[in-house]
Symmetry: C2
Subunit: 370 residues, 2 copies
């Protein structure tokens, strides 16, 4: 729509025409948010994932994120998921966006070793093996098919669907799947640390591809097989949801480079969804000097735009939040997608300042400040 | 609200003031529908349940009902759930109401032996044992607590919540729980057959109470224990959902006498929900000469009204549907609650004729008529 005006809280990368067409169709309408949680043992390889204070704790992060969203506190572990530096999970921003928008939301269990203590939508998946095994995910087809059904269900009665993930180690498995599909031939994925362990990730991925007996690009036409070999259990669930939902309503794929593998697979399986999906993410992710979301997306399709929220934590009085401006975290738990969605539902009335204020409220409560 | 006008498609029993207050608060608003599926081996006791062509098939009925709602066809069995006479499941009416209203809906797995082939919200329950064992349901407290969490989640972003059930054998377990709680001292529950096997049900229930070592009214103050002894796994999930949701938004308890046990338990555990819940059911159930919903409800609380939909299948060209007028089926799968909700969402514009027309469309498609 030519006369659609983007508020200053949002920016677009890529095909602006498609982005504005989708935005204008869902502006002021009501969506539903889902977060798919899953584990891959890959996150416990020392140095791979910073989404947890220690390699072992990375397995608790998805469940703890889900508990934080639903219960406002964690049950499966003490405290909230943090990076080794003590920087809080992006779920704090997701929570803020969901509260402000009053958007319905559900947790999807893609396959967890540590399950959240709350009712999840069950997909029949198992937690993932080490990507280095070359046999990373079981039951891929069944979980994908369940995803398609769930996507259709979510499209019923909602004007748009937001999907997201919490799966530590997921940028490594995303890199592996993107390479198996030949989408990228170099390491462009992000990290929750400003010191992206790119060499370690690449080495780990190459080990996984070798164990699976596949070369770069070998599975360009069989993304579900690529996931079975070197992916994680979040992927088939979310790929299914996109395909099931995008036939009926627009889908916002909330997340960073981790979700690029999901988008690439979904578009390969069903190209007809292009024009009805965009990625929803954060300014932090787009500005990351150590990854290149834009370049990955350009390789997947020129017609899947990115809409990102211009959140800025530099004025926050809390160091844990300021750290987002120093290259920590950037994305996760759909913090970008849910923020974009909150702005859409309010027809642009919700601002970044309002979101930040709510984040402060949540953060103070969780940290027992004041 | 004194100037609230009930459309001819709906009638009220009980406290009209409370009913109209709730209706006026949600009139034209957007709800969410859930159906909790569960199994109890009680349904396989010959003669107890007609919700299936044979005693064994009664275990497939909940899963098949769920599949019908979500997929529009059954996967776990051939054909659709029918009574021995070939009368189709009330899920056909639920489907019609959900389609017309475009209301979002989810299947909740309270505890199934035969699971639906689709993504369910998982409550951590197991399928139920024979009521005659006196140890009918395991994990009651955990499922109840998950229900409370889910109820709160469903209240987020929806103006009201509709709950329902598909659990064959459920009127027998309802009778058992209502007697253990001392709500009724005689058999007033319904049956999906016009020949309600009241003596068999009473005998079965008395056997269960004896096995559990409890007399009538002994568990008046411990409904969750009553369920553990002689209930079914649908109950703790739905009791939790009511309590979790009704603190925030109105709840419509869709169903017949089976749901009376759920209502009785919920009100005993949290009396503060009174004034924010009503039962949503059908004219068929209210007019049943072999049960007495009105009397049961009066014993539970004078302030929980019944709102029922005046569906009438007597003009239907299909015998399977006409049979509803002869005392078959009456309720189930939230057919009454979803119909009431569809009328509410449309501010009364949806009529019984429109619902019937849609039922015909669905019925013809399922039966491969034309």
């Amino acid at each position: 729509m030519s006369n659609f005006k983007l508020p200053p809280s949002l920016s677009i990368h890529g095909n602006e025409k498609i982005a504005k067409d989708i935005l204008s169709r869902i502006w002021g309408k009501k969506g539903v948010f889902t977060c798919t949680v899953a584990n891959t043992l890959t996150s416990t390889i020392p140095g791979i994932s910073d989404a947890g204070d220690t390699p072992e704790l990375t397995l608790f992060t998805p469940a703890a994120d889900a508990e934080l969203l639903v219960l406002g506190k964690t049950v499966c572990m003490k405290g909230i998921p943090i990076n080794p530096g003590g920087i809080p999970t992006p779920a704090t921003l997701t929570q803020a966006a969901l509260e402000i928008s009053n958007m319905p939301f559900f947790i999807v269990n893609g396959g967890c070793k540590v399950k959240p203590n709350l009712p999840c939508i069950e997909m029949g998946g198992e937690y993932g093996n080490y990507v280095t095994s070359g046999k990373a995910v079981s039951n891929v087809k069944k979980v994908f098919e369940n995803g398609v059904i769930l996507g259709k269900m979510l499209a019923h009665g909602h004007d748009f669907v937001v999907i997201s993930e919490s799966c530590a180690g997921g940028t490594t498995t995303a890199l592996a799947v993107l390479m198996a599909m030949g989408i990228i031939k170099e390491n462009l994925v992000s990290s929750s640390s400003p010191n992206n362990p790119r060499e370690l990730k690449t080495k780990t991925v190459m080990e996984g591809l070798k164990a699976a007996g596949i070369g770069i690009g070998d599975l360009a036409n069989d993304p579900l097989k690529a996931i079975g070999c070197v992916g994680d259990p979040m992927m088939p669930a979310n790929i299914g949801i996109i395909i099931g939902a995008a036939k009926h309503v627009p889908v916002i794929v909330g997340g960073g480079t981790q979700m690029a593998a999901v988008i690439a697979a979904a578009v390969k399986i069903d190209p007809s969804i292009v024009g009805n999906i965009f990625q929803g993410t954060t300014r932090w992710l787009m500005g990351d000097p150590n990854s290149n979301m834009a370049k990955i997306m350009d390789s997947i399709s020129p017609d899947i735009p990115i809409v990102y929220v211009n959140m800025d934590y530099s004025s926050s009085p809390y160091e844990g939040l300021q750290a987002y401006e120093w290259g920590y975290i950037k994305e996760g738990v759909g913090c970008g997608g849910s923020s974009v969605a909150a702005i859409i539902q309010s027809s642009g009335k919700v601002t970044c300042d309002e979101l930040l204020e709510k984040v402060h409220e949540i953060y103070k409560k969780i940290m027992n400040f004041d």
